[in-house]
């Protein structure tokens, strides 16, 4: 994170929690880890105020702390990730509402405002029927920071009749979808501290039974990683500090309709326990308690990582909608939804370090079968007419067959109508890498024929029974898989497993980020600039002359695009002297495009832009400060017409519109940050 990002974080903290907190936060950003006296010294604040501010910040997870067991000194550190996430509050609420209903949005909004909260407190707060507003930005900016829960209510009292069951139901739903997670002590520590803490807990390298030092180290490393992961996801297996939380979880109620198989939970919890504790039988299933209520001492917080996954899904669906078609995007949304429970965070570290080099094993990725998807999509009527066919209506579905099967079939049914030279070429290549292959019913290559005659085909296997609903969905899935961005990967049907689909997120996101970068370059510098950048990306470092002839641009034109690109930091220039004299005449100048560098530059600019937008929003707010303050007085709210003059109302409306506009822009900028940084 950079200066501009820090500036942005400070602005966000200031906006949400007020000046005291933002001042402490800024000092922490500026000086790094500080102890309380040092913090007091740098902020020029009284001990009491610093304590007060820190407690708010710690509650919000905006400040991490760590007390070393050696010298018992507590150090505080700013948490920029969570601070940045403040800008996403609105999105989180929207997503939660869409997923688990309006009340879930409310819970998320309150959890966002409170940082973390005990279940008991939440239930009590809702149980008394007190109305809570959703955490919209305006409320947050206007609400007094010390008491964030009493943000302005907009007369929405309809939720007073929330029953206890529905509260628990919603909380369990959120826990199950991992939108909220339990709080662990490690969540208050920085990654480095967590690691040193974990290293203390796991056995030393010397204690492992391994032949060489290297193997011992590797085992130690693995144990540390396991421990860290365990903390991160609050997987149990640790005694003592989370004992009470664990009790709480044991009494989690079971949702009446088991929509998701327990498989997932077992995957999440059991392997860790088995490995760490070493008791294979003890599978801990937190949702399977006997009572219907969550332990009121259970402490919950918003799980940012999961929300980023959900945001990514939305982004991908949007992209598919834009570059393929709306119907296809709908199918894609279903795939993402089906895979979502199996994806905990966007950038999951590979479990085994040795696997990084190897070609990503598609089999190990979360998968979804065609039948599951077919079941999930109820209405496919609009999918039928959403794909084009050639004029003669002839289709070659044979290319999607499994290589072996296809060869057999071509011998039988090769009547020369469909198979041509290209097909055989395809086949040769496909045979070598059958990874991308998927297979399809081997009944016929002509879809029309299939639709008409399949029912009477005695040879058709039951799983291949041609149902148009299934075919329509499958076709859209194939379209997605065919796309160069590799939206989807298919896994062929094997003798044991049905046809499945998976998403290779690292590859896909690399492509999407590249696509985004070039989109920005195109709109900023023009199409020829994008052409030059793409050439540089494809060909690597390139001499100007070669670039000129490859790009089919006149040298003068080309230079007029290269220079601004270079100036903006999108492409770089390397000098390679041909001899020791370093004479420019005897030097090769090579242009190159480094996507990582370009991405970092764009991110920087986006942070800065966001910071400027917020700065401007504040300036605009100051202009109408008096009116806004008056309008947010508790006796004026709801009766604005009565207490405010015409001019005041007008100014207020203008400001609100402007504020909305700026916040809208900031939220869109955040989408870009999410795409470039988090996905």
């Amino acid at each position: 994170m950079s200066r501009h990002a820090y500036e942005l974080c400070t602005l966000l903290v200031d906006d949400t929690y007020g000046e005291l907190t933002s001042r402490i936060f800024e000092v922490l950003l500026c000086y790094g880890r500080l102890s309380l006296p040092a913090l007091q010294h740098h902020t020029h604040l009284s001990y009491r105020l610093v304590k007060h501010g820190l407690s708010v910040l710690v509650q919000q997870h905006l400040v991490l702390w760590y007390t070393s067991s050696d010298d018992h000194l507590t150090l505080y550190e700013a948490n920029t990730t969570v601070a940045y996430s403040l800008v996403r509050s609105g999105k989180y609420i929207k997503i939660a509402e869409a997923q688990a209903g309006e009340f879930a949005g409310k819970v998320i909004s309150d959890l966002l405002l409170l940082g973390h909260a005990r279940v008991g407190d939440l239930v009590q707060a809702y149980g008394v029927g007190q109305s809570r507003s959703t955490h919209d930005r305006l409320a947050a900016t206007r609400g007094p920071p010390s008491n964030p829960l009493s943000g302005l209510s907009e007369g929405r009292n309809e939720e007073q009749s929330v029953t206890l069951e529905s509260i628990y139901g919603t909380l369990c739903d959120l826990l199950r979808t991992e939108s909220v997670s339990r709080v662990h002590l490690s969540h208050f520590r920085s990654d480095a501290d967590n690691r040193s803490e974990a290293e203390k807990l796991v056995p030393k390298p010397e204690e492992y039974k391994a032949k060489s030092k290297r193997e011992q180290d590797a085992q130690h490393e693995a144990a540390v990683k396991r421990k860290l992961k365990e903390w991160k996801y609050c997987a149990d297996g640790e005694e003592g500090e989370v004992e009470d939380l664990r009790k709480g979880k044991k009494r989690l109620h079971q949702d009446s309709e088991p929509r998701r198989p327990d498989q997932k939970r077992q995957r999440l919890y059991s392997p860790l326990i088995q490995e760490v504790v070493g008791i294979p039988g003890e599978v801990y299933l937190p949702m399977l308690g006997e009572t219907d209520y969550l332990d009121s001492n259970l402490i919950l917080r918003v799980n940012h990582a999961k929300f980023v996954v959900l945001m990514r899904n939305d982004h991908l669906v949007d992209l598919a909608d834009r570059i393929i078609s709306t119907s296809t995007a709908r199918v894609y949304a279903q795939v993402l939804r089906a895979l979502e429970p199996k994806v905990q965070e966007c950038r999951e570290e590979p479990e085994d370090l040795n696997k990084i080099d190897a070609e990503a094993d598609l089999g190990s990725l979360p998968q979804v079968s065609t039948d599951e998807l077919v079941g999930a999509i109820k209405d496919s009527s609009e999918l039928f007419n959403a794909l084009g066919k050639s004029d003669d209506g002839r289709l070659d579905m044979a290319q999607f067959d499994h290589p072996k099967k296809r060869r057999k079939k071509q011998v039988i049914s090769d009547n020369g109508s469909v198979v041509d030279g290209e097909a055989s070429l395809d086949e040769e290549e496909d045979a070598s890498d059958s990874n991308d292959e998927d297979n399809i019913s081997d009944v016929s290559s002509d879809l029309d024929e299939v639709n008409g005659e399949a029912e009477f085909d005695p040879n058709a296997m039951p799983s291949f029974s041609h149902n148009p609903h299934r075919d329509a969905i499958r076709n859209h899935l194939l379209v997605l898989a065919m796309h160069p961005l590799s939206f989807l990967q298919h896994l062929p049907k094997t003798s044991i497993l049905p046809e499945r689909w998976t998403i290779d997120f690292p590859t896909l996101m690399k492509n999407v980020i590249h696509h985004t970068l070039l989109e920005i370059i195109t709109s900023r510098h023009g199409l020829p600039a994008a052409r030059l950048t793409r050439i540089l990306f494809d060909k690597g470092k390139t001499d100007e002359k070669v670039l000129c002839s490859t790009s089919l641009l006149a040298q003068k034109t080309m230079r007029s695009y290269l220079l601004p690109l270079h100036k903006a930091g999108m492409i770089g220039l390397q000098e390679v002297p041909r001899d020791n004299s370093r004479n420019p005449q005897r030097t090769n100048f090579l242009w190159f495009f480094d996507p990582e560098r370009c991405k970092a530059k764009m991110l920087e600019e986006t942070y800065k832009t966001m910071a400027r937008c917020l700065g401007r929003a504040r300036v605009e707010g100051e202009k109408v400060k008096g009116t806004v303050e008056k309008a947010s007085r508790s006796d004026v709210i709801g009766k604005e017409e009565k207490f405010l003059g015409v001019q005041e109302l007008e100014a207020l409306n203008v400001w609100r519109e402007m504020d909305e506009r700026i916040w809208g822009e900031v939220s869109r900028l955040d989408d870009l940050v999410a795409c470039l940084r988090d996905f």
Partner: protein, 359 residues
């Protein structure tokens, strides 16, 4: 070529061709030898044995052969060469020989090198190195050759600043001209643009499905005049022939669709379209298609074998594919780098923001 003696000045009469006869003077024998050699294909190199095999040289005597070939070479009709250390000869066309004879020694030297470079042309610096002539001498020779319309200066696309010469009668090779995209050594941007536009439309029409517009259906269902029908049909034909424009309503093709055009199909189509008098080769078309891919207008599918148009392209249909960054005032701000809290440019006094907020 042996028959072209027209326009030969009288002094060359001594080398006119005659048939070999029983009683032969050295001159006749020489002519016979020349005629025999000239009947072979152009550029054939004769060695000593081959010449003896003609059985023109009396007694196959080496001395005589040497004398004859020497004389012929002197007349410019034979060119002496060496191969594997042995002497061999090449026939020179009579007309060329005449040209040579009209040249001075330097000119002939320069001309021979330029001729040797054939369609690739030769750079003047290289020419000077090879001929080992003084600059002024060589320039004079080149100038006089140019005046005689025997050589011409050409522009090489790769090195536009180099003075390059080749024979006046030759067409520069594609390495020199840079292929169909260059006119007189300069990139013809308009040509590239037009060709790419056509190609793009062609591919759009074949890689996306354009659902029929609702009003078309209405028209066809209701009665319409013959003119209208013809117009509609012509329109459809036109669209089928020349591809389509992008539209938001176009839908992806069925995954089994085989009609995504590949390189040879596009090449065939563009050559058949009569768009340009130049016949495009596949390699050139490949270059053009690559450009379109790099422009983000096409994409390669099926392992790069076929092409498909990209649905949305910046700036078409009035769609600006900007994102939040490029649309915000800061994203296009010329003084963004200076923008600093408390600096001369800041968010408080920013004019661009003012404008954007007013909008």
């Amino acid at each position: 070529m042996t028959s072209s003696t027209e326009g030969v000045p009288p002094k060359d009469q001594d080398v006119t061709m005659t048939e070999p006869s029983g009683v032969s003077s050295p001159k006749e024998l020489r002519n016979a030898l020349y005629a025999r050699c000239a009947s072979f294909e152009e550029g054939h190199v004769f060695n000593q044995d081959e010449l003896f095999a003609f059985e023109i040289i009396p007694d196959n005597s080496v001395e005589k052969l040497l004398a004859y070939t020497k004389q012929l070479a002197k007349d410019g009709l034979f060119k002496l060469m060496t191969k594997d250390g042995k002497a061999c000869w090449k026939v020179v066309k009579r007309a060329d020989a005449i040209k040579y004879r009209s040249l001075s020694q330097e000119e002939a030297l320069v001309y021979s090198y330029i001729e040797g470079a054939a369609r690739e042309g030769i750079w003047s610096k290289l020419l000077r190195n090879k001929t080992n002539l003084h600059m002024t001498t060589m320039n004079r020779a080149i100038k006089s050759l140019e005046n005689k319309n025997m050589i011409k200066a050409v522009k090489i696309v790769k090195y536009p600043n180099r003075k390059t010469y080749m024979l006046a009668k030759l067409q520069p090779s594609e390495n020199v001209t840079g292929g169909p995209f260059y006119t007189d050594g300069v990139l013809d941007e308009e040509f590239v643009h037009q060709m790419s536009l056509w190609t793009e439309k062609y591919i759009i029409g074949r890689s996306w499905w354009h659902p029929p517009l609702p009003e078309h259906k209405k028209k066809s269902s209701s009665k319409m005049t013959q003119e209208q029908a013809e117009e509609l049909r012509a329109g459809e034909l036109r669209q089928r022939g020349h591809g389509r424009d992008r539209s938001k309503t176009m839908l992806p093709m069925h995954p089994g669709y085989r009609g995504f055009p590949n390189l040879s199909e596009v090449t065939k189509a563009i050559n058949g379209s009569g768009l340009s008098g130049v016949t495009m080769k596949e390699s050139e078309m490949g270059q053009l298609l690559d450009i379109l891919c790099w422009d983000g207008r096409l994409e390669k599918i099926r392992h790069g074998k076929a092409y498909r148009a990209i649905k949305q392209v910046d700036g078409e249909d009035g769609v600006e594919l900007g994102n939040a960054l490029t649309e915000s005032p800061c994203g296009r701000c010329p003084v963004f780098d200076f923008c600093e809290e408390g600096g001369p440019v800041n968010a408080r006094s920013c004019e661009y923001f003012q404008e954007w907020l007013q909008f």
